[in-house]
């Protein structure tokens, strides 16, 4: 049973008006697959996650959108629409494992709290066993001891495994991983990603992986959605998009072939990475026409006037992109 998100739009009220963080975002994640939602910082990718979880900041409103999870459709514009799903149908792994656990409660207490919600019918003893089992599954050695440890006694990677264990215990239909490796050492990245994939295969959930790293998407994901300035520009299987990027932005991203965040560029003098010139458009005032027009290297007159629809690149593989160059000739 796949997860479907339709027409998600989110506004932030800021001091000088309304910022449109997301506009008309739709995507599907088939059961047991991982969708990589990729975009630079400020593209609104985390907003997608928090809109689904119902954990947006107070100044944010979902102006349209629905989500179909486990065969039921949730109206995301209704506050608390998915509250009942948290910890059951949905679980989340966060960006900063150093801060995502309560420092005065043990690892075990965090896991037990998830079980208390997920399996209220169980007794303490079986919950303890389940929690220890989960820690073992995410390859945290000596689970019994870990249970009584406090977050500050663990490294960042270990803490992220604890959160993955929490997600494992929640057995969600949809798992959202918001930049799960960004705050961690590069050497830990593959281990954590392997744990997330292991979790997905174990419970067969759909995974929404939010990242700025195209490399992570191409290595681990089945599908990719490219987000730019609050709009989804391209969508398809990783293989199809890699082979024939439908949108100039995706092509430029693939050309960069390195993570988008500048600080992760290696300090070599001969780096030949292209950098996409220009800045994100003002989120308060969407420019007319294509959102990427200002930075596009292949734009033409229509791009400044007409907002592109989602045109198929390769219908058979569900690959589409929002670029006027894909319009079928009339």
């Amino acid at each position: 049973m796949s997860v479907r998100v339709r027409n998600l739009a989110v506004d932030y009220s800021v001091s000088d008006g309304t910022a449109h963080a997301l506009r008309d975002i739709s995507f599907d994640i088939p059961e047991g697959e991982m969708l990589g939602l990729v975009g630079e910082s400020g593209s609104g990718k985390s907003t997608v996650a928090f809109a689904l979880m119902g954990l947006l900041a107070n100044n944010a409103t979902v102006t349209s959108g629905s989500a179909e999870i486990h065969g039921r459709t949730y109206d995301l514009t209704r506050p608390g629409a998915t509250t009942a799903l948290r910890g059951r149908g949905m679980a989340m792994i966060f960006q900063d494992p150093m801060l995502s656990l309560n420092p005065v409660f043990t690892v075990g207490r965090h896991l037990l709290e998830v079980l208390r919600r997920r399996h209220p019918e169980t007794d303490r003893k079986s919950r303890l066993a389940m929690a220890e089992d989960a820690l073992a599954k995410v390859k945290l050695g000596d689970p019994k001891r870990r249970m009584s440890q406090y977050p500050h006694e663990l490294s960042g990677g270990m803490r992220q495994r604890v959160v993955i264990a929490m997600a494992l215990l929640a057995e969600p239909t949809l798992l959202i991983a918001d930049e799960p490796t960004t705050a961690l050492d590069v050497t830990v990245e593959s281990q954590i990603m392997r744990q997330i994939i292991g979790l997905r295969d174990r419970i067969g959930c759909a995974v929404l992986l939010i990242t700025h790293s195209l490399g992570v998407v191409t290595s681990y994901c089945d599908r990719i959605a490219v987000l730019y300035a609050g709009e989804r520009l391209e969508n398809g299987t990783v293989g199809a998009v890699q082979a024939h990027p439908g949108h100039p932005y995706t092509r430029m991203l693939l050309d960069c072939e390195v993570p988008l965040e500048r600080e992760r560029l290696p300090l070599t003098t001969d780096n030949r990475f292209t950098v996409i010139a220009g800045d994100l458009p003002d989120p308060r005032q969407r420019p007319p026409g294509c959102i990427f027009n200002g930075r596009c290297d292949v734009s033409f007159e229509d791009c400044a006037r007409i907002v592109p629809a989602d045109y198929p690149v390769d219908d058979s593989r569900g690959h589409s992109a929002r670029c006027l160059r894909l319009r079928s000739p009339l």
């Binding site: 910890g87 949905m90 679980a91 989340m92 309560n102 005065v104 965090h110 709290e113």
Partner: protein, 326 residues
Amino acid sequence: MSRSPGAIARFVASRLASVLLTLFGATVLLFLMVRLVPGDFASVMLGPRATPALRAQIVHEMGLDRNVVEQLWLFVSRAVTGNFGQDVISHRPILDIVLEVIPNTLALAFSALALALVAGIPLGVVAALRPGSWIDTILALLSISFITTPTLVVSIILFLIFAIGLHWLPVAGAGDAGSPLDQLRHLILPSIAMALGWVGYISRLVRASLLDTLTELHVRTLRAYGVSELRIVGIFALKLALVPVVSILGIGLGDLIGSSVVVEIIFARPGIGSLIFNSIAQRNYPVVQAAVIFIVAFYIIANLVVDLINAMLDPRIGKSLTARDG
């Protein structure tokens, strides 16, 4: 593991050393304070009661015929063993006099502290649940009035209401020694008078600390896993938010013991405060010295206990404390 018994023992031992040093310093200061009063020391100590026989007794007892350093040594070494000499008025050991009244004051201070916590924490939680709401505004104004109204004023108002107006609760004494219920009834008004300021103080502190904590990311984690808002605020955020609250309880106890003088006088309760007051009025300085040493010791130990509780509440503190001396 940061909280092994050995680590805690080391932490206590190192703190105990500094505590003993401060206590020693306080004892010396107290000795000097009395010793430096201008005039003939024996007369100062005896005040209007000075007869030649008493003078000779006190000169001998306190070693006034020896030099100041020896006197200090005598004073400190006796204080350590609890030997504060004989009271020249009642001819009883001063230690007995002090120990007799201390339970009253401790009962008062701890019931006031308990009251402050029991009322202050929930009020703070309620205010933090809806920051900016009318209930938060009312609680804020209430808290600040509680904090700023001097204990003296609260005591007098309570005394007036219950002594002159209603007669529900007793306003004088500590109650019948044989009847715990009567003692409890006598405790109510004075402990409210002492606690009120701390109710406001603790509620403000809990509110601010809780609001801070609720912005932290681990709260979002629990929300994402469906933990109810009540459990998040009331258990997970509150425990973290109580760390700074516990830190000030040591100061709180000192403040409460300090205000016991005022409260015990107004409600005519026997206690260390009224003992000091009466002894000062009689210029019975040896008793004052002994009582103040007890208060200082209690104050210092209370602060030590508070540190320990905090180390247990927040394992990170325990770690840094043991790391410092290990």
